[in-house]
Symmetry: C2
Subunit: 352 residues, 2 copies
Amino acid sequence: MSRKPTLAVVGATGAVGTVMLQILSQHADIWGEIRLVASPRSAGRKLAVRGEQVEVLALSEDVFDGVDVAMFDVPDEVAAQWAPLAASKGVVVVDNSAAFRLDPDVPLVVPEVNPHAARVRPRGIVANPNCTTLSMIVAVGALHAEFGLRELIVSSYQAVSGAGRDGVETLRRQLKLVTGTELGTSPGDVRRAVGDDTGPFPEPVALNVVPWAGSLREDGWSSEEMKVRDESRKILGLPGLRVAATCVRVPVITTHSLTVHARFEDEVTVDRAREILATAPGVVLFDNPAAGEFPTPADVVGTDPTWVGRVRRALDDPTALELFVCGDNLRKGAALNTAQIAELVAGEFTAG
Amino acid sequence: MSRKPTLAVVGATGAVGTVMLQILSQHADIWGEIRLVASPRSAGRKLAVRGEQVEVLALSEDVFDGVDVAMFDVPDEVAAQWAPLAASKGVVVVDNSAAFRLDPDVPLVVPEVNPHAARVRPRGIVANPNCTTLSMIVAVGALHAEFGLRELIVSSYQAVSGAGRDGVETLRRQLKLVTGTELGTSPGDVRRAVGDDTGPFPEPVALNVVPWAGSLREDGWSSEEMKVRDESRKILGLPGLRVAATCVRVPVITTHSLTVHARFEDEVTVDRAREILATAPGVVLFDNPAAGEFPTPADVVGTDPTWVGRVRRALDDPTALELFVCGDNLRKGAALNTAQIAELVAGEFTAG
């Protein structure tokens, strides 16, 4: 078929959906019609995409008529219901919820790491990894291809927009309450200032860090930490990979950072690791501490690549590398990777 | 000797010195005279300690006349010059700079972990560890005593007061510039708002995290990361301990947090680890995620203990534990541990 495929964006009005529309406006214009879909509450609103105002449609079976590819960014339970329904109508669904990521019949795809996986999709669904995994896996995948990964020990510094618009508004509200005061130096004063207004977070996040993201799983692990383990294993095709993650929310608006301790099969050298990272697609090596160069969220936000700095070999383990990695959690961590998968799939239509 | 020993507080006007005076006012009153010392710039000011206003003296040789114990919190180069001089006059110096921590003739002491070490001090100096190491070592030391530590992989979430008053004022200034705006969502907007006003930090710290603390050492490591390795080894008496640290500054006023991946000689159990942590002196186990219980800086600031939560056994390594640890970097991380060492030493005078 040589016509341009039709795309639906489901969840177009959310924090990630908004970035999806920006990306569709910036990328090569490979799509025919772009249909915007959201909950009935948002239907009728008009949003800009590719320089045009497009009316938002309420989610229904009919909106998928004639659609080739749909990008979903909706809550897990909405995706669980609607993605199979859209797929049953012949739509290839690229889903950014957690509903299908570990389904053995659903590929979990990062185009720089395992693009081939997107072609085999028995359920008509391709899953997009979670934002914390995505913020580091392109860099880790490039190193794995050369050195053979054995173990990942990671700690996250997760931005509040990972919890959606409510997360961003909560931090902005709390910052107004604590800024210009002496708060943050006495027991409980930040908590008293913020009160119960913690939004989607279990504790105040302004002037604080909160070692929790997601829901409680077995043995004290959070769902976010389990996602990093399970999704890294699936994307890299390493079902026995040792992974230990601790996920922590920090008062940053957008861009997740992670410290990564990566242990490989054999000895590694920093020089070779830097060569790999400097040339890996989707990665920017920004690593010259003598010149004050290392990535921080303030500089990475709004950009596409995975930024890597602080590359060191462990002093006491010649098989391990230390990295500090930043990635925009709304772009590569969500909307961008989803759009990249959708573009991979679209290539099948236009090549066909 | 049964008289109460005389104490000098050198650096009494700084961020840590201020907390030292609070602690001296709160603890059992074991001291005779307390002499306050600072740079000539601060001499003549009066500060409250034990409910009295005490005039600050300018640092000179004479101020150490008749002093038994001195707590130093001054820059490394000032300590390097003045601590040996005070010691030569018979003063036992408890020094919170980095100048002597790795000197084989200077013990590096954490009273809950290696109190015996304080008694052997060939140079008349006892060193206080750096705040990042101190914020986790009491908990790690308790687990080591039972399980035998083999490897530490830690990431820090360090408060700005670790960089002194200038660090705190810098964050407060930057927060005023970025609060109430849409900053933090576009590339470089936080940097533009903050300009070159980054204070003691290499990058803006408001709405950001900065993977750097201290100065550049070999092979890309920061001095702070090397301190965590070298000091942990010395305190625990494990010169071959494998340690990999990544130190990151976060927009928190006071209280350092760390994620800790600790690998031990043999298999560990979470139940036994929790028993140890629940009864270890100087440690509070606060770990019930189902009830929203884990430590955060906002609740730990101003308290003495090392708070531990998120205790998990690594899913893929039965010899490793994951912890999230918080400690007030000005109290246990600096002033409190220094005061505890001084009190240990004072016990020799009063017992004598």
